[in-house]
């Protein structure tokens, strides 16, 4: 990498920069959702965009998730490139019908006549004491559904670049922004732009064990890898980035090399993404493993409010470290 200029920024600012760029570059693009305009976005992502682009393109909506998500689908069918913001994945359950029954099905059901180029952004995840109706990680529900693409930016580069690629995609794309990441600071290449939305990424190379994660858990997992390095355990950390499709090739290449794997998923264990990934590894790399795969997931409870209880419910660096130690101590 040459010495390209970098700027200090945050995850939130990177998202906003990507929105601004999309609005500047394509007259078909517009943003709508609850409080995206005058309020500036419930997580302040769209702050200032109303002033810059006007209320025709930065549309505050009523609290009508089904109507405005469906309107995004319809507008996409009508030639626009809507970006629809839903405050949290919990609220998206109010428009599950439109996303699952319409956006995901239309192309196939119409024999390929209609595609739905809509981008839906929503926050997910816990860690800010928002309790059980604002903290869940239900992205695996969407990753279950053929016809949808599901991505989870965990880095500044992906916060900056995934939207552009999602907008260029002819099919519905859901972007999950982890609410604990909005304030994450770092340096971002001045030329940062579109990134692929299909491949997982190795965020840290290692040879003893593979840690597979995404979204808000990436940073906890990287800290766990730092700690493990002091114990002479070199963990390879994979950031899934795309939850549908899953990048089996990157996962399997790493697992076949390290022969051990721990999956870190803020979703619940039962029926979750970690189960899917674990089974894919079992199907395709069973004989390459030196130990049973393990998981660190959220406890099977609605996420509680009290700080110590919330922390206990979520994957944490210490539990990841401990789980890795246990897997390293096992042999089959």
């Amino acid at each position: 990498m040459s010495a390209a200029t970098t700027n200090k920024t945050t995850y939130r600012e990177a998202l906003r920069a990507s929105l601004r760029e999309a609005l500047q570059n394509d007259a078909r693009v517009f943003l709508m959702g609850e409080d995206v305009g005058r309020y500036g976005g419930s997580f302040a992502v769209s702050k200032g965009l109303l002033e810059e682009f006007g209320e025709e393109r930065i549309r505050d909506t009523p609290l009508s998730e089904s109507a405005f998500v469906g309107a995004g689908i319809g507008a996409a069918l009508g030639g626009m490139r809507p970006i629809v913001e839903i405050m949290t994945v919990n609220f998206s359950l109010l428009c599950l019908d439109q996303i699952v029954n319409t956006a995901a099905t239309l192309r196939h059901m119409s024999g390929g006549q209609f595609n739905v180029p809509v981008v839906i952004r929503m926050t997910t995840g816990a860690g800010r004491q928002l309790a059980a109706q604002h903290s869940h990680s239900l992205e695996c529900w969407y990753a279950h559904v053929p016809g949808l693409r599901v991505v989870a930016p965990a880095t500044l580069e992906d916060a900056r670049g995934m939207l552009q690629t999602a907008l260029a995609n002819p099919d519905p794309v859901i972007i999950f922004e982890h609410n604990a990441l909005y304030n994450m600071e770092g340096e971002l290449n001045e030329n940062a732009g579109a990134v692929d939305i299909e491949r997982a990424s190795v965020r840290r190379a290692g040879k003893h064990i593979t840690l597979i994660t995404y979204g808000g858990s990436l940073h906890k997992t990287l800290r766990a890898a730092d700690k493990l390095a002091t114990e002479n355990i070199e963990a390879e950390v994979i950031d899934l980035r795309s939850l549908r499709p899953l990048d089996d090739a990157t996962i399997l290449q790493s697992v076949r090399k390290t022969r051990r794997v721990v999956i870190v998923d803020e979703g619940w264990r039962s029926g979750g993404l970690s189960a899917e990934i674990g089974m894919r590894i079992a199907e395709q790399a069973f004989y390459d493993l030196d130990a049973p795969p393990a998981r660190v997931c959220s406890a099977e409870v609605p996420i509680p409010y009290a700080k110590h209880m919330e922390e206990a419910a979520l994957p944490q660096t210490a539990t990841i470290v401990q789980t890795v130690r246990e897997v390293m101590g096992q042999n089959v």
Binding site: A71, M109, G111
Partner: protein, 331 residues
Amino acid sequence: MSGTAIDKNLPAREQAIAWLQQMIRIRRFEEKCAQLYGATKIRGFLHLYSGEEAIAVGVMSALKNTDAVVATYREHGQALARGIAMPSILAEMYGKQEGCCHGRGGSMHLFDAATRFFGGNAIVGGGLPIAVGLALADKMQKRTNVTACFFGEGAVAEGEFHESLNLAALWKLPVLFLCENNLYAMGTALTRSESQTDIHQKAQSYNIPAEVVDGMDVMAVEAAVRTALDAIRSGAGPRFLELRTYRFRAHSMFDPELYRSKDEVEAWKARCPIATFSAKLLAANLITQNDIAAFEKIADDEINAAVAYAEAGTWESVATLTRDVYTEMTA
């Protein structure tokens, strides 16, 4: 309707005959579909439009080609009247790849890009938000198209109905909401599901001009739709028509019709939109009985040709099962 008085509002002969022929065509198509279902040529759910033909015919007659249509799972009449070719509709119901959706959709999911026909939506109420979005796209792109959105009175109980009416009115979007009130949501009577059964009042509560129209009268439907479309195209925002009608057949082919009386069905059948309109045209000497027989023959010939087309159709290769789940990207 005595059938003898001449209706002064009758359209020109050519137009009147076109409407009558279209209604006859839909009715006979639907009756053939019932037979084909019995013969197991059509499977799944099959919802027939018999009795409600005046609505689809009146609406489509007033729409422009550039307008959009969002319909429900009882949409054969809309699809035919909109101009989707009958053979491709029937082949779709057979599940053949010659069907308008290659057999992926079936009776409940007819789609056609060429006529801007956006389903065939089988989630009650689910089509309304899509119609709002299509209208939003037209408005933002400064086109004068209207989106005609069909739904039954059962949809009125869904949240999506209320959310969509509010949003369309708030943003003054060019949507024509068309509530086909046939009094029963499957087997649940309107009076057993709504605290306020005068549906058009619900639209008025969202500041959408709304009126009740006799859905058994093609002239009344067409006139009301034309007036509403003019208002919408002038930028006045959405309009709402409650079209009071009745389905002569069961909800679907699995329905034993335990919830309504034969007397009630017969009373509505006496108001058959085809019979009453035919009587008006006969009284005005615009057509003869021989003409009606000829229209039926023309419809039957077309239907027979469509059946032959569907029968001769082929099954899509299973190898293409996962095609069109996503758009194929050419690098």
